[in-house]
Protein backbone atom coordinates (compact mmCIF):
# COMPACT_ATOMS: atom_id res chain seq x y z
CA UNK A 1 0.00 0.00 0.00
CA UNK A 2 2.64 2.43 1.14
CA UNK A 3 4.91 1.22 -1.61
CA UNK A 4 2.22 1.84 -4.21
CA UNK A 5 1.74 5.36 -2.92
CA UNK A 6 5.45 5.94 -3.08
CA UNK A 7 5.47 4.95 -6.75
CA UNK A 8 2.54 7.22 -7.42
CA UNK A 9 4.24 10.05 -5.62
CA UNK A 10 7.41 9.51 -7.59
CA UNK A 11 5.55 9.34 -10.88
CA UNK A 12 3.77 12.64 -10.30
CA UNK A 13 6.75 14.36 -8.75
CA UNK A 14 9.59 13.77 -11.16
CA UNK A 15 8.33 16.03 -13.97
CA UNK A 16 7.94 18.86 -11.48
CA UNK A 17 11.43 18.30 -10.18
CA UNK A 18 12.80 18.19 -13.67
CA UNK A 19 11.07 21.43 -14.62
CA UNK A 20 12.38 23.16 -11.52
CA UNK A 21 15.86 21.85 -12.21
CA UNK A 22 15.66 23.08 -15.78
CA UNK A 23 14.42 26.50 -14.80
CA UNK A 24 16.96 26.80 -12.03
CA UNK A 25 19.81 25.82 -14.31
CA UNK A 26 18.77 28.25 -17.02
CA UNK A 27 18.52 31.10 -14.52
CA UNK A 28 21.86 30.13 -13.05
CA UNK A 29 23.45 30.33 -16.49
CA UNK A 30 21.89 33.74 -17.19
CA UNK A 31 23.06 35.06 -13.82
CA UNK A 32 26.51 33.59 -14.34
CA UNK A 33 26.87 35.39 -17.64
CA UNK A 34 25.55 38.58 -16.07
CA UNK A 35 27.93 38.35 -13.14
CA UNK A 36 30.89 38.05 -15.49
CA UNK A 37 29.69 40.83 -17.79
CA UNK A 38 28.75 43.16 -14.95
CA UNK A 39 31.64 42.42 -12.63
CA UNK A 40 32.67 45.29 -10.36
CA UNK A 41 36.27 45.36 -9.21
CA UNK A 42 36.37 46.04 -5.49
CA UNK A 43 39.62 46.87 -3.78
CA UNK A 44 40.00 44.39 -0.89
CA UNK A 45 41.44 47.23 1.20
CA UNK A 46 38.08 49.01 1.09
CA UNK A 47 36.40 46.08 2.76
CA UNK A 48 39.16 45.85 5.37
CA UNK A 49 38.89 49.56 6.15
CA UNK A 50 35.15 49.26 6.41
CA UNK A 51 35.60 46.51 8.98
CA UNK A 52 37.92 48.77 11.00
CA UNK A 53 35.40 51.60 11.14
CA UNK A 54 32.66 51.80 13.81
CA UNK A 55 29.94 51.24 11.14
CA UNK A 56 27.46 53.64 12.69
CA UNK A 57 27.09 55.80 9.56
CA UNK A 58 27.06 59.03 11.52
CA UNK A 59 28.42 61.13 8.67
CA UNK A 60 30.94 63.00 10.81
CA UNK A 61 33.58 62.43 8.15
CA UNK A 62 31.49 64.24 5.58
CA UNK A 63 30.63 61.14 3.60
CA UNK A 64 27.28 59.40 3.33
CA UNK A 65 28.31 56.52 5.55
CA UNK A 66 31.14 54.30 6.70
CA UNK A 67 31.30 52.37 3.43
CA UNK A 68 31.68 55.49 1.30
CA UNK A 69 34.28 56.87 3.70
CA UNK A 70 36.17 53.57 3.47
CA UNK A 71 36.17 53.87 -0.29
CA UNK A 72 37.37 57.48 -0.18
CA UNK A 73 40.16 56.74 2.29
CA UNK A 74 41.43 53.86 0.21
CA UNK A 75 41.74 56.19 -2.76
CA UNK A 76 42.98 59.24 -0.90
CA UNK A 77 44.92 58.37 2.29
CA UNK A 78 45.08 62.03 3.32
CA UNK A 79 41.48 61.68 4.48
CA UNK A 80 42.66 59.46 7.31
CA UNK A 81 41.56 60.50 10.79
CA UNK A 82 38.26 62.02 9.71
CA UNK A 83 36.33 59.37 11.64
CA UNK A 84 35.48 61.06 14.94
CA UNK A 85 33.72 58.14 16.68
CA UNK A 86 36.49 55.71 15.67
CA UNK A 87 39.10 58.18 16.85
CA UNK A 88 42.77 57.40 16.99
CA UNK A 89 42.13 53.65 17.15
CA UNK A 90 40.32 53.50 13.81
CA UNK A 91 42.88 55.83 12.25
CA UNK A 92 45.71 53.58 13.40
CA UNK A 93 43.99 50.51 11.98
CA UNK A 94 43.36 52.22 8.64
CA UNK A 95 46.99 53.32 8.55
CA UNK A 96 48.04 49.74 9.14
CA UNK A 97 45.84 48.52 6.29
CA UNK A 98 47.13 51.20 3.94
CA UNK A 99 50.70 50.64 5.14
CA UNK A 100 51.14 54.19 6.41
CA UNK A 101 52.62 55.87 9.45
CA UNK A 102 50.52 58.42 11.26
CA UNK A 103 51.60 60.97 13.81
CA UNK A 104 49.96 60.99 17.23
CA UNK A 105 46.72 62.91 17.24
CA UNK A 106 45.34 64.76 20.23
CA UNK A 107 42.63 63.63 22.64
CA UNK A 108 39.16 62.84 21.31
CA UNK A 109 37.00 65.85 20.65
CA UNK A 110 33.64 66.20 22.31
CA UNK A 111 31.04 68.92 21.99
CA UNK A 112 30.59 71.69 24.54
CA UNK A 113 27.50 73.89 24.50
CA UNK A 114 28.59 77.47 25.07
CA UNK A 115 25.51 78.56 26.95
CA UNK A 116 24.20 77.76 30.38
CA UNK A 117 21.03 79.83 30.42
CA UNK A 118 17.95 77.78 31.23
CA UNK A 119 14.38 79.03 30.76
CA UNK A 120 14.39 81.12 33.94
CA UNK A 121 17.73 82.75 33.25
CA UNK A 122 17.12 84.29 29.86
CA UNK A 123 14.86 87.10 28.79
CA UNK A 124 12.32 86.36 26.08
CA UNK A 125 10.87 89.35 24.17
CA UNK A 126 8.17 87.63 22.18
CA UNK A 127 6.46 84.27 22.03
CA UNK A 128 7.62 82.38 18.99
CA UNK A 129 4.99 80.27 17.24
CA UNK A 130 6.67 79.38 13.95
CA UNK A 131 8.28 76.15 12.85
CA UNK A 132 9.80 74.75 16.04
CA UNK A 133 13.37 74.71 14.80
CA UNK A 134 16.30 76.84 15.92
CA UNK A 135 17.23 77.62 12.34
CA UNK A 136 13.91 79.36 11.67
CA UNK A 137 13.67 80.94 15.13
CA UNK A 138 17.17 82.30 14.59
CA UNK A 139 16.06 84.01 11.38
CA UNK A 140 13.72 86.23 13.37
CA UNK A 141 15.24 89.01 15.41
CA UNK A 142 14.24 89.64 18.99
CA UNK A 143 12.56 86.33 19.75
CA UNK A 144 15.05 85.89 22.50
CA UNK A 145 16.87 88.82 24.01
CA UNK A 146 20.25 87.13 23.77
CA UNK A 147 21.39 87.01 20.16
CA UNK A 148 24.03 84.40 20.97
CA UNK A 149 22.44 81.98 23.43
CA UNK A 150 20.74 78.62 23.06
CA UNK A 151 17.27 78.85 21.54
CA UNK A 152 16.22 75.47 22.85
CA UNK A 153 14.27 74.19 19.85
CA UNK A 154 16.65 71.27 19.51
CA UNK A 155 18.14 71.29 16.01
CA UNK A 156 21.15 69.66 17.63
CA UNK A 157 18.92 67.03 19.25
CA UNK A 158 17.45 66.18 15.85
CA UNK A 159 20.94 65.99 14.34
CA UNK A 160 22.23 63.63 17.04
CA UNK A 161 21.99 60.00 16.02
CA UNK A 162 22.99 58.66 19.40
CA UNK A 163 20.38 60.23 21.66
CA UNK A 164 23.21 62.06 23.39
CA UNK A 165 21.70 65.54 23.37
CA UNK A 166 18.54 66.72 25.05
CA UNK A 167 16.82 70.01 25.64
CA UNK A 168 16.54 70.24 29.40
CA UNK A 169 14.76 73.32 30.68
CA UNK A 170 15.31 75.23 27.44
CA UNK A 171 18.99 74.41 27.14
CA UNK A 172 20.81 71.82 25.05
CA UNK A 173 22.65 69.43 27.37
CA UNK A 174 25.14 66.83 26.18
CA UNK A 175 25.04 63.36 27.65
CA UNK A 176 28.75 62.57 27.51
CA UNK A 177 28.19 58.88 28.17
CA UNK A 178 26.37 58.43 24.90
CA UNK A 179 28.27 61.02 22.88
CA UNK A 180 30.59 59.63 20.22
CA UNK A 181 32.03 62.99 19.24
CA UNK A 182 30.82 62.88 15.68
CA UNK A 183 30.24 66.62 15.59
CA UNK A 184 26.83 66.55 13.91
CA UNK A 185 25.39 68.83 16.59
CA UNK A 186 28.12 71.42 16.08
CA UNK A 187 27.17 71.63 12.42
CA UNK A 188 23.45 71.77 13.18
CA UNK A 189 23.49 74.70 15.61
CA UNK A 190 22.62 77.89 13.68
CA UNK A 191 24.29 80.00 16.36
CA UNK A 192 27.54 78.00 16.40
CA UNK A 193 27.16 77.51 20.12
CA UNK A 194 28.50 74.00 20.09
CA UNK A 195 32.22 73.64 19.73
CA UNK A 196 34.20 70.44 19.39
CA UNK A 197 36.74 70.60 22.19
CA UNK A 198 39.67 68.25 22.83
CA UNK A 199 38.71 66.52 26.06
CA UNK A 200 42.08 65.98 27.69
CA UNK A 201 40.40 65.46 31.05
CA UNK A 202 37.20 63.76 32.07
CA UNK A 203 35.64 67.13 32.81
CA UNK A 204 36.59 70.26 30.97
CA UNK A 205 36.22 73.76 32.27
CA UNK A 206 34.53 76.15 29.89
CA UNK A 207 33.10 79.63 29.61
CA UNK A 208 29.52 78.67 28.86
CA UNK A 209 28.57 81.82 27.02
CA UNK A 210 29.01 83.37 23.59
CA UNK A 211 27.53 86.77 24.24
CA UNK A 212 29.77 89.47 22.81
CA UNK A 213 27.76 92.46 23.99
CA UNK A 214 29.04 94.69 26.75
CA UNK A 215 28.64 93.76 30.38
CA UNK A 216 25.69 96.01 31.08
CA UNK A 217 23.59 94.74 28.20
CA UNK A 218 24.45 91.14 28.96
CA UNK A 219 23.52 91.59 32.61
CA UNK A 220 20.16 93.08 31.66
CA UNK A 221 19.10 90.15 29.47
CA UNK A 222 20.72 87.10 31.06
CA UNK A 223 21.49 86.10 34.61
CA UNK A 224 24.32 83.80 33.65
CA UNK A 225 26.02 85.56 30.74
CA UNK A 226 29.69 86.46 30.54
CA UNK A 227 30.10 90.17 31.19
CA UNK A 228 33.72 90.28 30.18
CA UNK A 229 34.93 91.58 33.57
CA UNK A 230 38.27 89.84 33.27
CA UNK A 231 38.44 88.39 36.79
CA UNK A 232 39.31 84.98 35.40
CA UNK A 233 41.97 86.48 33.15
CA UNK A 234 43.61 88.03 36.21
CA UNK A 235 43.94 84.60 37.81
CA UNK A 236 45.53 82.72 34.97
CA UNK A 237 46.46 83.52 31.41
CA UNK A 238 44.74 80.48 29.92
CA UNK A 239 41.70 82.73 29.94
CA UNK A 240 41.56 85.61 27.51
CA UNK A 241 39.03 88.37 26.96
CA UNK A 242 37.93 89.03 23.39
CA UNK A 243 35.04 91.30 22.54
CA UNK A 244 33.60 91.35 26.07
CA UNK A 245 33.78 87.60 26.27
CA UNK A 246 36.09 85.34 28.22
CA UNK A 247 37.63 82.46 26.27
CA UNK A 248 39.43 79.45 27.67
CA UNK A 249 42.37 77.95 25.86
CA UNK A 250 41.34 74.28 25.98
CA UNK A 251 44.76 73.05 24.82
CA UNK A 252 46.45 74.50 27.91
CA UNK A 253 43.71 73.78 30.40
CA UNK A 254 44.36 71.76 33.51
CA UNK A 255 42.60 71.69 36.83
CA UNK A 256 44.71 73.62 39.36
CA UNK A 257 44.24 76.25 42.06
CA UNK A 258 44.34 79.13 39.62
CA UNK A 259 41.61 77.80 37.38
CA UNK A 260 39.53 76.78 40.40
CA UNK A 261 39.82 80.27 41.83
CA UNK A 262 38.95 81.79 38.48
CA UNK A 263 35.86 79.62 38.37
CA UNK A 264 34.82 80.58 41.88
CA UNK A 265 35.52 84.27 41.39
CA UNK A 266 33.37 84.54 38.27
CA UNK A 267 30.58 86.91 39.29
CA UNK A 268 27.94 85.36 37.02
CA UNK A 269 29.05 81.75 37.44
CA UNK A 270 29.46 81.32 33.72
CA UNK A 271 32.65 79.28 34.09
CA UNK A 272 31.42 75.74 34.53
CA UNK A 273 32.50 72.15 34.15
CA UNK A 274 31.27 70.08 31.25
CA UNK A 275 31.93 66.37 30.97
CA UNK A 276 31.15 62.88 32.12
CA UNK A 277 31.02 63.61 35.85
CA UNK A 278 30.67 67.37 35.77
CA UNK A 279 29.16 68.81 38.96
CA UNK A 280 26.04 70.96 38.84
CA UNK A 281 26.93 74.54 37.94
CA UNK A 282 26.73 77.18 40.63
CA UNK A 283 23.43 79.02 40.90
CA UNK A 284 23.76 82.50 39.43
CA UNK A 285 21.98 84.19 42.34
CA UNK A 286 24.48 82.71 44.80
CA UNK A 287 27.38 84.85 45.87
CA UNK A 288 30.69 83.75 44.43
CA UNK A 289 32.17 81.09 46.68
CA UNK A 290 35.44 82.98 47.08
CA UNK A 291 33.66 85.96 48.59
CA UNK A 292 32.13 83.86 51.34
CA UNK A 293 35.38 82.15 52.28
Amino acid sequence: MILANMYELWNSAWPAGLIMLGLGTSFAIVLLIASIKLKVEVDPKVEQIHMALPKIDCGACGFAGCSSYAKAVAEKPSLIGMCAPGGAKAAAKIAEILNLQISESGPAKKPIVHCRATTGDKTIYAEYQGIPMCISANALVNVQACKFGCLGYGDCVAACKFDALHIIDGLAVVNYEKCTGCGACAKACPRNLIEMVPFAHENMMTVACKNKENGKTTRSICKVGCIGCGLCFKQTNIFAIEENLARLDYEKYELNDQTKTAMNKCPTGVIVFRGLTAPEPRQPAQKPAAATV
Binding site: P15, A16, M20, V30, L31, A34, L38, I131
Partner: protein, 196 residues
Protein backbone atom coordinates in the same frame (compact mmCIF):
# COMPACT_ATOMS: atom_id res chain seq x y z
CA UNK B 1 -7.74 49.00 -32.75
CA UNK B 2 -9.68 46.74 -30.48
CA UNK B 3 -6.54 45.14 -29.03
CA UNK B 4 -5.00 48.56 -28.50
CA UNK B 5 -8.11 49.64 -26.68
CA UNK B 6 -7.97 46.62 -24.39
CA UNK B 7 -4.30 47.18 -23.69
CA UNK B 8 -4.88 50.85 -22.86
CA UNK B 9 -7.75 49.89 -20.58
CA UNK B 10 -5.58 47.31 -18.86
CA UNK B 11 -2.86 49.89 -18.36
CA UNK B 12 -5.14 52.53 -16.84
CA UNK B 13 -6.83 49.90 -14.75
CA UNK B 14 -3.63 48.65 -13.16
CA UNK B 15 -2.13 52.11 -12.68
CA UNK B 16 -5.13 53.93 -11.22
CA UNK B 17 -8.10 51.70 -10.45
CA UNK B 18 -6.36 48.57 -9.24
CA UNK B 19 -3.16 50.22 -8.07
CA UNK B 20 -1.33 47.47 -6.22
CA UNK B 21 -0.14 49.67 -3.38
CA UNK B 22 -3.15 51.86 -2.84
CA UNK B 23 -6.05 49.49 -3.40
CA UNK B 24 -4.56 46.02 -2.94
CA UNK B 25 -2.24 47.03 -0.08
CA UNK B 26 0.70 45.15 -1.54
CA UNK B 27 4.29 46.30 -1.37
CA UNK B 28 3.75 48.41 1.72
CA UNK B 29 7.26 47.72 3.04
CA UNK B 30 9.18 49.74 0.44
CA UNK B 31 6.22 52.11 0.13
CA UNK B 32 6.75 53.24 3.72
CA UNK B 33 10.44 52.42 4.01
CA UNK B 34 11.97 54.15 0.99
CA UNK B 35 9.55 57.04 0.61
CA UNK B 36 11.62 59.48 2.68
CA UNK B 37 13.15 61.33 -0.24
CA UNK B 38 11.65 61.76 -3.67
CA UNK B 39 14.78 60.90 -5.68
CA UNK B 40 15.27 57.65 -3.79
CA UNK B 41 11.59 56.82 -4.12
CA UNK B 42 11.80 57.35 -7.86
CA UNK B 43 14.85 55.11 -8.11
CA UNK B 44 13.10 52.43 -6.09
CA UNK B 45 10.05 52.76 -8.32
CA UNK B 46 12.17 52.28 -11.42
CA UNK B 47 13.88 49.21 -9.95
CA UNK B 48 10.53 47.68 -9.02
CA UNK B 49 9.13 48.56 -12.45
CA UNK B 50 11.99 46.76 -14.12
CA UNK B 51 11.71 43.69 -11.93
CA UNK B 52 7.94 43.49 -12.13
CA UNK B 53 7.87 43.91 -15.91
CA UNK B 54 10.47 41.24 -16.38
CA UNK B 55 9.01 38.80 -13.90
CA UNK B 56 5.36 39.39 -14.82
CA UNK B 57 6.06 38.68 -18.47
CA UNK B 58 8.35 35.75 -17.79
CA UNK B 59 6.04 34.12 -15.29
CA UNK B 60 3.20 34.37 -17.81
CA UNK B 61 5.37 32.66 -20.39
CA UNK B 62 6.51 29.96 -18.00
CA UNK B 63 2.98 29.47 -16.73
CA UNK B 64 1.34 29.19 -20.15
CA UNK B 65 4.04 27.48 -22.16
CA UNK B 66 5.60 25.13 -19.63
CA UNK B 67 3.52 24.60 -16.52
CA UNK B 68 0.02 24.49 -17.97
CA UNK B 69 0.74 22.00 -20.80
CA UNK B 70 2.42 19.73 -18.28
CA UNK B 71 -0.27 20.11 -15.60
CA UNK B 72 2.28 21.37 -13.12
CA UNK B 73 0.39 24.36 -11.78
CA UNK B 74 1.24 23.25 -8.24
CA UNK B 75 4.80 24.46 -8.70
CA UNK B 76 3.61 27.90 -9.74
CA UNK B 77 4.64 29.71 -6.56
CA UNK B 78 8.11 28.20 -6.54
CA UNK B 79 8.67 29.04 -10.17
CA UNK B 80 7.44 32.60 -9.69
CA UNK B 81 9.74 33.18 -6.77
CA UNK B 82 12.61 31.73 -8.77
CA UNK B 83 11.96 34.16 -11.63
CA UNK B 84 11.59 37.16 -9.31
CA UNK B 85 14.75 36.33 -7.38
CA UNK B 86 16.67 35.94 -10.62
CA UNK B 87 15.39 39.26 -11.94
CA UNK B 88 16.29 41.05 -8.70
CA UNK B 89 19.79 39.62 -8.83
CA UNK B 90 20.11 40.92 -12.35
CA UNK B 91 18.93 44.39 -11.36
CA UNK B 92 21.28 44.43 -8.40
CA UNK B 93 24.30 43.55 -10.52
CA UNK B 94 23.32 46.06 -13.17
CA UNK B 95 22.82 48.83 -10.65
CA UNK B 96 26.06 48.11 -8.84
CA UNK B 97 27.91 48.42 -12.10
CA UNK B 98 26.22 51.45 -13.61
CA UNK B 99 24.76 53.40 -10.70
CA UNK B 100 26.78 52.75 -7.51
CA UNK B 101 25.34 55.76 -5.68
CA UNK B 102 21.79 54.52 -6.17
CA UNK B 103 22.94 51.03 -5.21
CA UNK B 104 24.33 52.34 -1.94
CA UNK B 105 21.33 54.47 -1.10
CA UNK B 106 18.98 51.50 -1.50
CA UNK B 107 20.92 49.33 0.88
CA UNK B 108 18.86 46.41 2.08
CA UNK B 109 15.75 47.43 0.16
CA UNK B 110 17.13 46.30 -3.16
CA UNK B 111 17.47 42.59 -2.32
CA UNK B 112 14.20 42.90 -0.45
CA UNK B 113 12.41 43.47 -3.76
CA UNK B 114 12.63 39.68 -3.98
CA UNK B 115 10.13 39.37 -1.18
CA UNK B 116 8.12 42.39 -2.27
CA UNK B 117 4.58 41.07 -2.27
CA UNK B 118 3.53 43.55 -4.95
CA UNK B 119 5.57 41.62 -7.49
CA UNK B 120 4.49 38.11 -6.55
CA UNK B 121 0.99 39.51 -6.11
CA UNK B 122 0.95 40.92 -9.63
CA UNK B 123 2.17 37.61 -11.09
CA UNK B 124 -0.58 35.77 -9.27
CA UNK B 125 -3.19 38.38 -10.19
CA UNK B 126 -2.35 37.96 -13.87
CA UNK B 127 -3.10 34.29 -13.39
CA UNK B 128 -6.19 34.94 -11.27
CA UNK B 129 -7.68 37.40 -13.73
CA UNK B 130 -7.23 34.82 -16.48
CA UNK B 131 -5.10 36.97 -18.76
CA UNK B 132 -4.54 34.79 -21.78
CA UNK B 133 -2.40 36.81 -24.15
CA UNK B 134 1.19 37.88 -23.75
CA UNK B 135 0.85 41.60 -24.70
CA UNK B 136 -1.80 42.14 -22.07
CA UNK B 137 0.26 40.39 -19.41
CA UNK B 138 3.27 42.52 -20.35
CA UNK B 139 1.25 45.74 -20.26
CA UNK B 140 -0.26 44.81 -16.91
CA UNK B 141 3.18 44.06 -15.46
CA UNK B 142 4.64 47.31 -16.74
CA UNK B 143 1.58 49.24 -15.57
CA UNK B 144 1.87 47.73 -12.11
CA UNK B 145 5.42 49.03 -11.89
CA UNK B 146 4.36 52.48 -13.08
CA UNK B 147 1.53 52.47 -10.56
CA UNK B 148 3.96 51.56 -7.79
CA UNK B 149 6.36 54.31 -8.87
CA UNK B 150 3.53 56.83 -8.92
CA UNK B 151 2.27 55.83 -5.49
CA UNK B 152 5.70 55.87 -3.86
CA UNK B 153 6.61 59.21 -5.47
CA UNK B 154 3.37 60.84 -4.30
CA UNK B 155 4.05 59.50 -0.84
CA UNK B 156 7.65 60.75 -0.87
CA UNK B 157 6.50 64.20 -1.99
CA UNK B 158 4.02 64.40 0.84
CA UNK B 159 6.54 63.15 3.37
CA UNK B 160 9.14 65.68 2.26
CA UNK B 161 6.63 68.41 3.02
CA UNK B 162 5.55 66.72 6.24
CA UNK B 163 9.05 67.29 7.59
CA UNK B 164 8.28 71.00 7.66
CA UNK B 165 4.81 70.63 9.13
CA UNK B 166 3.93 71.07 12.77
CA UNK B 167 2.76 67.54 13.49
CA UNK B 168 1.38 66.84 16.97
CA UNK B 169 4.03 65.14 19.07
CA UNK B 170 2.12 61.87 19.53
CA UNK B 171 1.72 61.47 15.75
CA UNK B 172 5.32 62.14 14.69
CA UNK B 173 7.13 59.52 12.66
CA UNK B 174 5.31 56.33 11.73
CA UNK B 175 1.76 57.29 12.81
CA UNK B 176 1.48 60.33 10.55
CA UNK B 177 2.97 58.31 7.70
CA UNK B 178 0.32 55.65 8.09
CA UNK B 179 -2.45 58.26 8.32
CA UNK B 180 -1.11 59.85 5.13
CA UNK B 181 -1.09 56.47 3.43
CA UNK B 182 -4.70 55.90 4.51
CA UNK B 183 -5.86 59.26 3.19
CA UNK B 184 -4.05 58.66 -0.06
CA UNK B 185 -5.79 55.32 -0.39
CA UNK B 186 -9.15 56.95 0.23
CA UNK B 187 -8.41 59.42 -2.52
CA UNK B 188 -7.56 56.61 -4.92
CA UNK B 189 -10.73 54.75 -4.01
CA UNK B 190 -12.42 57.47 -6.05
CA UNK B 191 -11.15 55.79 -9.20
CA UNK B 192 -13.04 52.58 -8.45
CA UNK B 193 -15.83 52.18 -10.96
CA UNK B 194 -14.02 54.19 -13.61
CA UNK B 195 -13.43 50.96 -15.51
CA UNK B 196 -15.89 48.13 -15.30
Amino acid sequence: MDTLNILLMAFISIVLVNNLVLTKFLGICPYLGVSGRIDMAFGMGLAVTFVVTLSGTMTWMIDHWILMPMNLEVTRYVCYILVIAGAVQLVEMYMRKFSPSLYESFGIFLPLITTNCAILGLCLFINLWGIDNLPEAAVLSFGAGIGFTMAICIMAGIRENLNMADVPKCLRGAPITLITAGLLTLAFMGFAGMIK
